[in-house]
């Protein structure tokens, strides 16, 4: 689903109401390519609808996830991020700036473990970690080659 119109249908199908808050959050999610956190969306939503509650943002995001309208991304460190793209795709995470971008991977869905053949697989997710082109460029220009932290450590550190 993409259109706000079908959103109303989806909500009603679930016996739910289409409130202005829900419309706004849904819309903001879809305008946003950055896989925002609840806090990010709250900030944006507040600009357009002063007084909206962070609680409502969390609530709405959870509902949308339940309805299959978005997915959670939990790639280490910090807040859950939300992805309105529920199609077949994967993620590339920059260990330098933390950006997450959607990517596609040929054959990912058919990957199988060579062991654990008794595990019933519903879903396959691939995560690439590395350095995005923007960070790579600025790194070449000298400057910010930081200490020898592991990627995860860096992610942890960038939390603050």
């Amino acid at each position: 689903m993409q259109s706000p119109a079908s959103l109303a249908v989806a909500y009603r199908a679930n016996g739910r109401k289409l409130t202005p808050q829900r419309q706004l959050i849904f819309q903001l999610m879809h305008e946003n390519e950055t896989h925002p956190t609840a806090e990010d969306l709250y900030a944006q939503a507040s600009a357009q609808m002063p007084g909206i509650s962070l609680r409502t943002v969390y609530q709405t995001l959870n509902e949308l996830a339940e309805m299959g309208e978005l997915q959670f991304i939990e790639i280490g460190s910090g807040a859950t991020r939300f992805d309105p793209n529920v199609g077949d795709h994967h993620h590339a995470v920059c260990d330098s700036c933390g950006q997450i971008r959607d990517v596609h991977v040929r054959g990912a869905a058919t990957l199988r473990p060579t062991d654990s053949t008794d595990f019933v697989i519903n879903e396959v997710g691939v995560v690439f970690r590395g350095i995005c082109s923007a960070c790579e460029t600025s790194r070449r220009k000298g400057s910010t080659q930081r200490g020898a932290k592991s990627p995860v450590q860096q992610a942890k550190a960038s939390k603050k």
Copy 2:
């Protein structure tokens, strides 16, 4: 690294001391196949060393990660889990019981996005989600087919 002996060397190489607490935590990690949380390890450690602090467990786990002796696993929902296996492997997560097991995947390391070709990849991780054989078996026997929550929602829910 696997042996406590080389642990001492590794610690000294980092200008660190080999304390009883660190030895214990390291040992427990390696005896444990379940990808425990800090709290799990704390419980086990407390049994053998009453008075050890949860703070120390967290601290030690972070150090070991920095030293490359273990890795963090953050697969949705709840506490970080720790994996002493730093070799090339991936994970299968049971959406029913939450168990995480190590698996191997042929060709995973050479996967590449079909898009985002300007992203420098350091690491590729594959996560399978599904139902482990134990849960599948008990499910067949009837009983606990729970409501239609998404995998992530289930994970979230099982947090408590």
